[in-house]
C-alpha cells in the first residue's frame, strides 16, 4: 500500500464527522428550554421579529426540514443573525478570528521550543537533574488551571516586575508578539506537560532500540547518532501527540483570552453566553470543531509524509 493509501478512507470518515458536527450544532439550539424565538430575541422581542425568527429558523416546519434549512444556509456561510451586535453572526465571528489564530500558532511554537530540548534531555539523562526538576514542575502545572497560571504570570511579570502588559492585543506583528507573550506562554506551559513526558518516554524507548546499537557498532560518532537517529525517531513519535494537543490548545485559548481580555473567539464565546446571543455561540462552536477536524487531518498527512510506516496503519 502506498504511503498515503489510507487517506481516502480518512477523508470519508471526515465527511461523516462533519455531518455529525453540523447535527450537534443544529440541535444545540433545541436545548434551550421554552421558546427559542423568545430566547434569541431577548430584550429586543417584538411580535413581528418573533414571527420572522420562526420563519427563518423554520420553527413551524418538521425537524428534518429545519435541519435542511440550517445546512442550506451554512453552505452560504450564513450562521444566523446576532441581535446583540445587530449584524450577521458570520461577520461578528470574522472580526474575532485573528487574535485567536495568532494565539494558537504562537503558543504552539513556544511549546515546541520549550518541550523539545527539555523532553529530549530528560529522556537522555533520565533520573538526572533536568529530568527530576521538569517532572516536579510539570506535575504541578498539570494540576494548575490555565486561567490561574495566567493570573500568576501577570502578578509576576506585569505587576511585580513590569515587563509585559496586563492585557491587549497590540499593533503590528511586533506588537502582537509582545502583547501576546504572556498569554501564549500560559497556554504553552500547559501544553508542554504532555509533550515533555511523551518525548521523554519516546527518547528512552528509541535509545533501547536495536538500530541504535547497530549505528554505534558501525562506529558512527555518538553526537551524530543522537542527532540523526535518536532525536529524529523520538520526535516522529511525538508528532501525533502534538497534533492532538494543538486541538486541545483551543480550550486553553478560550480561558486565556478571558484572563488577558483579548478580543478573540474565546472572549466572544463567553460574552455571547451571558448576552444570550445563541447564533454566535452556535457559530463559534461549529468553527472550533471544524478547526479541530482540519488539524487532525493535517496531523495524519504530516505523519504519513514523515514516516512511511504510518500510511499502512492509519484508518481504523
Amino acid at each position: 500500500m502506498s504511503r498515503f493509501g489510507s487517506l481516502p478512507r480518512r477523508l470519508v470518515h471526515m465527511v461523516i464527522l462533519l455531518f455529525g458536527i453540523t447535527l450537534v450544532t443544529f440541535f444545540l439550539l433545541r436545548l434551550i428550554p421554552g421558546d427559542p424565538a423568545l430566547a434569541i430575541l431577548g430584550s429586543s422581542y417584538t411580535h413581528t421579529r418573533a414571527v420572522a425568527i420562526d420563519s427563518t429558523l423554520g420553527l413551524n416546519r418538521p425537524i428534518w426540514s429545519q435541519y435542511a434549512l440550517f445546512m442550506g444556509r451554512l453552505f452560504h456561510g450564513n450562521l444566523g443573525f446576532s441581535f446583540f451586535y445587530d449584524e450577521s453572526a458570520t461577520t461578528v465571528i470574522g472580526q474575532h478570528i485573528q487574535p485567536t489564530i495568532f494565539l494558537i500558532v504562537y503558543s504552539a511554537v513556544l511549546a515546541a521550543l520549550i518541550s523539545l530540548p527539555i523532553g529530549f534531555i530528560a529522556g537522555l539523562r533520565s533520573g538526572g537533574v533536568i529530568d527530576q526538576s521538569s517532572r516536579v514542575f510539570f506535575t504541578l502545572s498539570f494540576a494548575m488551571p490555565a486561567f490561574w497560571l495566567g493570573i500568576i504570570l501577570i502578578l509576576i511579570f506585569s505587576v511585580h516586575v513590569p515587563v509585559f502588559p496586563i492585557s491587549g492585543f497590540g499593533r503590528g506583528l511586533g506588537g502582537h508578539l509582545y502583547y501576546l507573550f504572556l498569554p501564549a506562554i500560559t497556554i504553552a506551559l500547559g501544553f508542554s506537560t504532555v509533550l515533555v513526558r511523551s518525548l521523554r518516554a519516546a527518547t528512552i524507548g528509541t535509545l533501547q532500540s536495536e538500530f541504535i546499537d547497530t549505528a554505534q557498532m558501525k562506529g558512527i560518532r555518538w553526537s551524530r547518532v543522537l542527532r540523526k537517529h535518536v532525536f529524529r525517531n523520538a520526535v516522529l513519535a511525538v508528532v501525533a501527540v502534538y497534533g492532538v494537543n494543538l486541538a486541545y490548545l483551543i480550550s486553553g485559548t478560550v480561558l486565556v483570552e478571558n484572563v488577558f481580555s483579548l478580543p478573540g473567539l474565546g472572549s466572544l464565546l463567553v460574552n455571547s453566553v451571558s448576552d444570550r446571543d445563541y447564533p454566535v455561540v452556535q457559530g463559534v462552536t461549529l468553527l472550533f470543531a471544524l478547526l479541530i477536524v482540519t488539524i487532525n487531518l493535517l496531523t495524519d498527512i504530516a505523519q504519513a509524509a514523515l514516516d512511511p510506516r504510518v500510511g499502512q496503519e492509519i484508518g481504523t
Partner: protein, 296 residues
C-alpha cells in the same frame, strides 16, 4: 498509531505516567506515593466537611474594618477580600462545589463510559462502529467549548454544569474501555468462560470487567483533576457557580480585579486547586503502580 492519534491528552499523559511510574522506585516507595496522595486528599476532604465546626468566620460575613487584609492578619490567616470576608473560610466552603464535581461528575461518567465501552468492544462489528462514531463526534469538539455551548443553551448554574459534564466527558472512558475490551475478548480466560456457555452479560461483568477495570480507575483520577479544573474554569468565566456562592474559580475571578494591590485574593484559591490536583495525581500514580505492575 491511529489509536494514539485520537486519544485525548489526558489519556496519553496517563499512559506515559503509568510507564514512567513503574520504572522508578521499589514497591515500598511506590506505595508511599499512594499514601501521600490519599493523605493529602483526606486532609482536604476533612477540612472541607468539618469546616463549620472549627472555622471562626462565616464565608459571607462582611468585616468592614478589615477589607483586603493581607495573609497572617490576626483572625484571618489567609487574609480577607474586598468586603473583608475571610479567604480561608471562603476556600473551605467553596471547596464543597469543586469536590462535589470531582466525585459527582467523575463517578457518573466513569460508570456510563465504562459500560458503553464494554458493550462496544465486546459486541464488535456494526454495533461497535455505530457506538464509536458517536464517541468520535464528541472528540471533534474542544471539550471546554462544547461544555460552554451546552451551558449557554441551558443557562449558567451549578446543576447545569454537572449536566454538561455528564453529557460530554464519558467519552474518554468509553474509548479506553473499548480498547481494553477488544484485547481482553481474545484472551484465554474469556474464551474459556464463553466455552463454558456463560451468557454475554456474565462474561462482560464477571470476567472482562474485573480484569480491565484498573485502567479506567486510574484514568478517573486524572479525570477528577480535569473536572475540578473545569468546574473552577467555568466559575471563573461566570458560567458555573454564581456569586455570592464561594467557589474557587469565582474567587479567582473576583480577586483578579484587585491584582495590582492585593495578590492573595487570586493566589490562595488557586493554591487550593493545585493542592487537591496534586493529591489526585499522586493517587493516580500510586494506583497505577499497584494495580498494573506489569506495565513496563
Amino acid at each position: 498509531m491511529s489509536a494514539m492519534l485520537t486519544a485525548s491528552p489526558s489519556e496519553l499523559l496517563m499512559k506515559v505516567a503509568t510507564k514512567a511510574a513503574s520504572r522508578r522506585g521499589g514497591f515500598a516507595r511506590r506505595r508511599l506515593v499512594l499514601i501521600i496522595g490519599l493523605a493529602l486528599l483526606g486532609i482536604a476532604i476533612i477540612a472541607i466537611l468539618t469546616g463549620p465546626l472549627w472555622l471562626t468566620q462565616s464565608p459571607t460575613a462582611i468585616d468592614v474594618l478589615h477589607p483586603l487584609a493581607p495573609p497572617l492578619t490576626p483572625g484571618h490567616p489567609l487574609g480577607t477580600d474586598q468586603y473583608g470576608r475571610d479567604i480561608l473560610a471562603r476556600i473551605i466552603y467553596g471547596g464543597r462545589i469543586d469536590l462535589a464535581i470531582a466525585f459527582g461528575a467523575t463517578s457518573v461518567t466513569l460508570v456510563f463510559g465504562t459500560v458503553y465501552g464494554l458493550v462496544a468492544g465486546y459486541f464488535g462489528g456494526k454495533t461497535d462502529s455505530a457506538l464509536m462514531r458517536i464517541v468520535d463526534l464528541f472528540f471533534a469538539f474542544p471539550f471546554l467549548v462544547l461544555i460552554i455551548a451546552i451551558i449557554a443553551m441551558l443557562g449558567p448554574s451549578i446543576f447545569n454544569m454537572f449536566v454538561a459534564i455528564w453529557i460530554t466527558s464519558w467519552v474518554a472512558y468509553a474509548r479506553i474501555m473499548r480498547a481494553q475490551t477488544v484485547v481482553a475478548k481474545k484472551q484465554q480466560y474469556v474464551l474459556a468462560a464463553r466455552a463454558l456457555g456463560y451468557g454475554r452479560l456474565r462474561v462482560m461483568l464477571r470476567h472482562i470487567l474485573p480484569n480491565v477495570a484498573s485502567v479506567v480507575i486510574i484514568f478517573s483520577m486524572v479525570d477528577a483533576i480535569g473536572n475540578i479544573i473545569l468546574a473552577s474554569s467555568l466559575g471563573y468565566l461566570g458560567l458555573g457557580a454564581q456569586p455570592p456562592t464561594p467557589e474557587w474559580g469565582t474567587m479567582i475571578a473576583d480577586g483578579q480585579n484587585y491584582i495590582l494591590t492585593s495578590w492573595w485574593l487570586a493566589t490562595m484559591p488557586g493554591l487550593a486547586i493545585v493542592f487537591v490536583g496534586v493529591a489526585f495525581s499522586l493517587i493516580g500514580d500510586g494506583l497505577a503502580d499497584i494495580l498494573r505492575p506489569g506495565d513496563r
